[in-house]
Symmetry: C2
DNA sequence: CGTAAAATTGATATTTCTCAATGAGAGTGG
DNA sequence: CCACTCTCATTGAGAAATATCAATTTTACG
């Protein structure tokens, strides 16, 4: 589903009371800078399934995810899909070298982003090394996550992939919703399969298996970790 | 094999005639900066199989690879290994958020690195945003490569993995040795297997299959691409 | 409610792995 | 210089994991 998103009326939105203010890329800006920065971004909403940008599109904007979840993925010519990550509020998207996006991004459920036109954003960074440093920090963190995910994709069994995914996703949600054994899974089974390098059937069977073994409870819209220690053991570190 | 490497006598080495001067991280420095920079790095050699740094080690240095090839990898507790990349001259290693390396790095054959102590290097960057920008550029490029590799690991068959690997490795060597259908493979079959998420037997069998089909020729220390177009077709984009 | 999409489950097929044996090349010491 | 040994690579046979195909079941949504 390709849609262009809906720009929200600009009034009434201030960076200073933005939900992701403290951990997004803009956390490196001081109040004065923030007021200037405010004019660069505009809030745009996307509804479930809409594509925010596509691989190979020329990059015209960067995006700061404010609300919701996005799937970031690459397609092979024959349609096989690999989800390279899920984005959560505070994630910064769109950096690249080639001038083109190197993956596609869809909204999973309703999404709000703060969109920055590439050129003014680039100019703003120009003489603000602390912002650049912050962007670099985020890139390096992502790189580390990407490497962890390579280990999962290349060297873990289906059971381990599922267990590790549940724990890792739970961990990422801590900063959003606090610690909990209830792990909401807004993405579809197919999304999970394409993230873990499995088929939808294997994902489903593995969830069922974990449930039968009493490690988890499959609930509407997510998973309840009945025995987190057991799931951790299954994840093999 | 863990070894500490051998520092070469500092005389006689100038950044200005460094082999990787034009495409490494230091390409962003002007001649005056370069003279200052020169004092920060020291050349260190490692012999085949030596470990330059290990995952979870506290990061005390950054490394600029000058000569040779390195394997970058992560281990699971039970010994399974995933190679997350091969480093070539000009690659910059050691950036991280946590203060610890997030992968290990071994020399494949003899290796020379330019080693920078973390603190002085950090101070040098401090007021040189162009160097930071260059580092950021390298990180973003690596991130893009990492995502491509996720697609390979998660969604490609053994045949496609091998074909894609040969082409991708050849492509990376272009900047070192120019275009050629002869693709040197300094790493072992086990390394290739651990990079592609396969076993050594599958790698071996797949090479043999490609050779029987006339697509490649297995030669000592590498592969000869007899029919590059065919290999490209096998790689499925 | 009724229809479509998503998820689950089962039966079977295929790929890749595992285990085991053999072969080839590099370095060593007699 | 040659046998020896060690490591690495190749090959084969059988096993295991996961994919594929097909049928339900469940959930979502108009």
């Amino acid at each position: 589903m390709k849609g262009s998103g809906v720009t929200i009326e600009p009034n009434g939105h201030f960076c200073s009371d933005c939900a992701v203010r403290d951990f997004a890329v803009c956390s490196s800006l001081d109040p004065a800078e923030l007021r200037e920065f405010e004019h660069l971004g505009r809030r745009v909403q996307f509804s479930s399934g809409e594509t925010v940008f596509s691989e190979e599109d020329i990059t015209t904007s960067f995006y700061n995810l404010l609300e919701g979840v996005m799937r970031l993925y690459k397609l092979l010519p024959d349609g096989r899909r690999q989800i390279v990550g899920f984005a959560l509020p505070g994630d910064f998207l769109g950096m690249n070298i080639s001038g083109r996006h190197n993956f596609s991004a869809d909204a999973i459920g309703a999404v709000t982003v703060c969109q920055f036109a590439k050129l003014p954003f680039g100019r703003f960074i120009e003489d603000r090394p602390h912002l650049l440093r912050r962007i670099n920090e985020l890139a390096i963190r992502e790189l580390s996550q990407a490497r962890d995910h390579m280990v999962l994709l290349g060297r873990r069994s289906a059971d381990e992939k599922i267990a590790a995914f549940l724990l890792c996703w739970r961990e990422r949600l801590v900063s959003q919703k606090g610690v909990s054994d209830m792990v909401p899974l807004p993405m579809s089974r197919q999304d999970i399969a394409d993230y873990l390098g499995l088929t939808i059937e294997t994902v489903s069977r593995t969830f069922t298996k974990l449930e039968r073994h009493g490690a988890i409870d499959i609930v509407h819209g997510g998973i309840n970790l009945l025995d987190p220690a057991r799931v951790e053991a299954l994840a093999a570190a």
